[in-house]
Amino acid sequence: MLALCCMSAVLGFADEPAVVFTPRQQRRILQHSPVPAVPDDPTNDWDRDPAAAHLGQALFFDAGFSRNGQVSCATCHGPMIAWTDAQPLATGLETGTRHSPSLLNVAHQRWFFWDGRADTLWSQAMHPIEHPGEFDASRIEYVRRIHSDAAYREAYESLFGPLPPMDDEQRFPRDARSDSPAWAAMAETDRDQVNRAFANCSKSVAAYESRLRSVESPFDVFVEGLRQDDETKLAALTASEQRGLQLFVDEAGCRQCHSGPLFSDFEFHNIGIPTGHGGAPRDPGRFDGLAHVQRSPFSAHGPYSDDPDGARARRTASIVQGQEHWGSFKTPTLRNIERTAPYMHQGQFDRLEDVLAFYNTLEDMQLQDHHQEMVLKPLELTDAQLADLAAFLRSLTSPLPPKSLMGPVDPRTGKPPSEPIEGP
C-alpha cells in the first residue's frame, strides 16, 4: 500500500498512450473497491435470518396485498431490469412523482427513498403499502391476509410468534386504515399489535432485499490488480475506461458525492437539475423527508425498532433541517448504472450521456432565485473525455444476484411455490 502511494502507476496499452495515475489518484481509486460485506442492521433482529428472507421474498413478489391485486414490490423493482422499472416515474396504482431506484446493494444505504424519509430498510418497505398511488392498502388488511393465509401464517409465527387474532373483527375492524376514525377507535394495544406484525413483515422483506448484492465488476478486478500489481487484472479496464476513471477521481470531481465502494455518499444534494415537468422545482425532497423520518413511529428510534437507543436511532433524532436540504435528493449508487436508465430522481435523462452532458454544461440548471450562491461549476470536458467517463461508468456493471432471488417463493421454504414442501 505504502509503495503504491510513493509512485505513479503507469498502465500501458499496445496502441494507446499509457494512463498514469498519481499516488493521490490511486489512493482515491482504492477507496471505491471492494464492496464490504452487507452491514448489520441492529434495528432489525431478523436481517440475517434466512427464514425471514424467505418470508420477505414471498411478500416482495405478492401482488395480493394491493387494492387492485396487481401491484407488488416487484412492479417497480423488477428483477429482470436490475430491480427497477425502466420508467421515468414509478407507477403503482397511479404514476408517482419520482423514479424507482434499483434495489441492488440497497442494504448498504444509510437512508431510503430519494428523500430519505425512512432510516431503515425495513421501515422503507412499509410506505408503499399504504400509499394511495402505490398499493393503496392498509396495514390492518395486510396483517389480516398474513393471518388468513396458512403458508404466510406458519412462516410468520415460526419467526415472530403468534399473530394478533385478526378474525376478531370487533377488535380489528375491516378497512380500518391508519388514517381512519375506525383505526383511531381501536384499543391502543391492538393498534400496537397490528403495527408490530406489520413491522415484522417489513423486516422480513428487508432480510430478502439485503441479499440483492451485485458487486463484482471489471472495475473491482482492476482495483484488485492495482493492489496486487497484477497486470492481468489491470487489463480488466480498457484505456478509455481508465481515462474515465482518472477523470472521475480527479478533474471531474464526481467523487465529491459519488464516494466510497458504492459510489454514493448516501446523503442528499441539490444539483439544480431541470425538473421532469419542465417548470420550477416543487419537490422539497430531503427537506420534507427528514421531517417525516423524525416523526415516524417506524423510525430507528421508534417502538418497533430492535435498537431504539442505538447509534442509528440517535442519529435520526439529531439530523439538521434547513434551507440547504430543500430540493435535495439522495446520491444514487453508480454500481450497475448501465442497467438502471432512465436517470435522476424524476427519470429526467434517458441516457448516461445525457447526465454527463448536464454536468458538463449545467444547461437549463434551475436556480431558485438570485439569492442562491452557486457551488456547482460546469465540467467543460471534451467529447472524448465525456466518452471516457461514460465508458468507465459502464465498467461498474456486475453479475446480477442468483436466479433463486428473482421470483416468488413459498414463504416457509424459500423455494419456488410449485415445489412440494418436504415433511418434517
Binding site: 482515491r28 482504492l30 477507496q31 464490504p36 465529491q256 455518499d265 447509534a311 440517535r314 439529531s318 439538521v320
Partner: protein, 138 residues
C-alpha cells in the same frame, strides 16, 4: 473501508501552537492542540478513527483548558462546516461531558471529501468562544 489511505492536513500554525502548549507544560495526550480564536482557551482533541475518514462516522475526545487548567464550568458544542460548499454536517453531534474539562463527541460525519472546518464553541458566562481547525479529508 480503507481508512489508512485518507489524509488530514493540520495547518502549520496549529502545529506551532501544539508545540508551544507541550513546551508550556500542557498535560493533554490528545493528538491536536489549538487555541480559541480569541486566545482565551486551549482545546485538545483526537478522533477515532484517525485521521478522519470520508463519509464515515467518527468520535472525538476533547479537552478544554483555560490558563492550563481544565475547565470546571461551561459548555462545549462541536460542529463542522464546509465553507466552500455553504453547508455543514447533516447531524447535530451528540456531546457528553466525561469529566472536568473533558467531553466525548459522537455522530460526527464529514460526508464529503474536501476542506472542512471543525468548530469548538466554548460557552461560559453568556459568551461563546470559538476554537477552530481546518481539515482536509480526501
Amino acid at each position: 473501508m480503507i481508512r489508512e489511505q485518507n489524509t488530514m492536513n493540520m495547518h502549520l500554525p496549529a502545529i506551532a501552537i501544539s508545540l508551544a502548549l507541550v513546551l508550556g507544560g500542557c498535560s493533554s495526550t490528545l493528538d491536536h492542540q489549538l487555541q480559541s480564536n480569541d486566545r482565551a482557551y486551549e482545546v485538545s482533541w483526537s478522533s477515532d478513527p484517525a485521521p478522519i475518514p470520508v463519509n464515515e462516522f467518527f468520535t472525538m475526545d476533547v479537552e478544554v483548558r483555560r490558563d492550563g487548567t481544565l475547565l470546571a464550568s461551561g459548555d462545549l458544542v462541536v460542529d463542522a462546516a464546509m465553507p466552500h460548499h455553504n453547508h455543514g454536517m447533516n447531524h447535530i453531534p451528540h456531546i457528553e461531558r466525561t469529566g472536568t474539562g473533558r467531553w466525548h463527541v459522537q455522530d460526527m460525519l464529514f460526508h464529503m471529501p474536501g476542506d472542512w472546518e471543525l468548530y469548538f464553541d466554548i460557552k461560559q458566562d453568556g459568551v461563546v468562544h470559538r476554537a477552530q481547525e481546518s481539515i482536509e479529508v480526501d
